[in-house]
């Protein structure tokens, strides 16, 4: 892999902890994500994956440790702040408004306006449609009807829209929580190829999945969590399914 070592990490997590009362959901956890790198996060249910990504994306404040973006320490009070800094989370349950078009979803909450008749502010649907077309084109996703609501699209296509939104707003780090769950096999392949696109654009991806096949198909490294601590970290090229499973269950 070209990205290991020299370059400044896009994201670095140092000794991160999160305690809920006596429960140590995450304990002294460290990892890095470099530009153009896909890091898989694996672990059983309750291992701390969700806690970790919520701390990185600003949903929780960590109890201890620090988060560095391109070497600079950062703290996020809200998910909004994390997003402003280029960390976008793609949720499993798709944060899309199904009744709106691709463009409207990409711009949801930040809609461009134009002046009709020189004075009346109206939504600039044309700008939204053009940006949607261009962005989805970058993901090798071609749509004929840009005004159709996203409910008309398949699960994989909607996943692509969610990723497209992150790409349009220039997210540098994408956290993808089970992006291939609830999709058919061809759709899963499409999402995997989308992740390859993101990688080739130099973005960092944190990829969470239960599916080891997907993890091996797309990741550069795998970090395994167990009971809130790092159970191991391997280069994908230097490990195999059995070893990862052993790390996950603690064999």
């Amino acid at each position: 892999m070209n990205s290991s070592g020299q370059t400044t990490p896009l994201l670095e997590v140092r000794n991160l902890s999160k305690h809920f009362g006596a429960v140590r959901a995450l304990n002294d956890f460290s990892m890095v994500v470099r530009p153009g790198e896909v890091v898989a996060l694996a672990g059983d249910n309750g291992a701390g994956k969700t806690t970790l990504i919520k701390a990185i994306s600003g949903v929780f404040q960590p109890s201890g440790g620090e988060i560095l973006l391109r070497g600079q320490p950062v703290t996020f009070a809200t998910p909004h702040e994390a997003r402003e800094k280029g960390i976008e989370t793609i949720y499993q349950d798709l944060a899309l408004a199904d009744n709106l078009s691709i463009g409207a979803n990409i711009f949801l909450g930040r809609e461009p306006m134009r002046k009709a008749f020189g004075f009346l502010p109206v939504l600039d649907r044309k700008t939204m449609a053009v940006a949607a077309k261009k962005t989805m084109g970058r993901l090798d996703f071609h749509v004929s009807r840009l005004d159709a609501p996203v409910s008309n699209f398949s699960g994989g296509q909607r996943q692509a829209v969610a990723i497209g939104r992150a790409v349009y707003w220039d997210a540098q780090i994408l956290i993808m929580d089970e992006p291939t769950a609830a999709l058919g096999v061809p759709e899963q392949r499409k999402v995997i190829s989308l992740i390859h696109q993101l990688k080739s654009q130099g973005r960092g991806v944190i990829f969470i999945s239960h599916n080891l096949q997907d993890i091996f198909a797309v990741s550069d490294r795998i970090v395994v969590l167990r009971r809130g601590v790092q159970a191991g970290e391997r280069k994908i090229s230097e490990t195999n399914h059995d070893e990862v499973v052993k790390l996950m269950v603690g064999g």
Binding site: Y91, S144, F153, S154
Partner: protein, 353 residues
């Protein structure tokens, strides 16, 4: 159905599903979207034939009938435009009827009081303004209950239904409040080139509301919240602020409705909007909005309000016992929802392929 099988699709990149251009689906969707206007056209033809056969008289070509239907539709339409916004967001506002009554009483009192000290046209404007502002108060309370205290809209606005009703009757002293203002009476009953002022005001108002719903961020966010609150929140939309503004907007629509009621009858009555609340919900549903939120348009609601007005006026015109009105409107609501569901099921089945 098209010839593209799922396997073929998976081998190329995922092409947009071929059913987008499917003429059958597109037609069904169009019919479902425009069903309120189809209902309206059907009803008008029905009454025209009925009227000609039974009485040898025209129904729709009679300008007096047109005016009456239009005036009939104004008050429910004003409530229904506000209700459209609320229902699209996934809520409901049950307090609108008595907010309208409250506003009618306030408009009457305020116009009379202002008339004692300032010229009559200004007093009229002061009365309308007072009605709209006072109507905003229960709207603010609704909005705060729903957005801050997370009271379900059905319950919160049901409570406000009672409060507004009580306050309106107290202010009115349990009776109707006559208005002494010739300008106000003219506004409610005068015409411009044969078109009642009330209808002109309602038409302008509808255009403004359509603009807000379809062309502004507020309208766009309203659709997004109705479809997926989580998504809207994650996209950084201020849900609380939006909800507050939403219920104030709907209450103010009812406020304007109350002021125009007071103008039409030159009196304010607490029970002014009592029968109109359910008509407003019916108009929105007939107009194509889903009670689950996320869909609906102002022009659909206009058609819905006209359907109800035509049924009510038309049945009286052809001399049918008035109780049939309720039955007819009830049927239209049920058929309308059935069409909506059929269309959803059809497009939903396509989606799962």
């Amino acid at each position: 159905m098209t010839s593209t099988s799922p396997i073929e699709q998976s081998e190329t990149h995922i092409a947009p599903q071929a059913d987008h251009g499917d003429p059958a689906r597109t037609w069904l969707a169009r019919i479902a979207e425009g069903r309120a206007w189809l209902f309206l056209a059907g009803l008008i033809i029905c009454f025209e034939v009925w009227s000609r056969l039974s009485f040898g008289a025209t129904f729709m070509l009679n300008p007096f009938n047109l005016q009456s239907i239009a005036i009939f539709a104004v008050a429910p339409l004003l409530l229904a435009t506000g209700q459209t916004f609320v229902i699209i967001s996934g809520g409901i506002d049950l307090s609108l009827g008595f907010i309208m009554g409250l506003a009618a009483v306030v408009a009457a009192h305020a116009t009379n009081m202002a008339g004692a000290v300032i010229p009559l046209p200004l007093a009229m404007l002061a009365g309308i303004l007072a009605a709209v502002i006072v109507a905003g108060v229960p709207g603010v309370i609704n909005g705060l209950l729903i957005s801050r205290l997370r009271v379900p809209p059905f319950i919160g606005t049901l409570g406000m239904f009672g409060v507004a009703r009580g306050v309106a009757f107290l202010l009115a002293g349990g009776t109707t409040v006559p208005v002494q203002n010739s300008w106000f009476a003219l506004l409610g009953n005068g015409r411009l080139y044969g078109v009642p002022y009330l209808v002109i005001i309602a038409a302008v108002f509808v255009v403004v509301m359509h603009y807000i719903l379809s062309q502004t961020r507020f309208g766009q966010h309203n659709y997004a919240i109705g479809a997926n609150v989580q998504a809207a929140r994650r996209a950084g939309i201020d849900i609380r602020g939006h909800t507050l503004r939403l219920y104030v907007l709907s209450a103010m629509c009812a406020g304007l409705g109350g002021a125009l009621y007071a103008a039409r009858f030159t009196a304010g009555a607490a029970q002014a909007g009592e029968p109109l609340l359910l008509d407003s919900v019916a108009a929105v549903v007939i107009g194509g909005a889903s009670l689950f939120g996320g869909s609906g348009t102002i022009f659909g609601t206009v058609a819905g309000a006209l359907v109800i007005a035509v049924i009510q006026y038309g049945l009286v015109f052809v001399n049918v016992e008035p109780f049939w009105q309720f039955i007819a409107v009830g049927f239209v609501i049920i058929i309308s929802v059935l069409i909506d569901q059929a269309q959803r099921r059809f497009s939903g089945a396509r989606q799962d392929e």
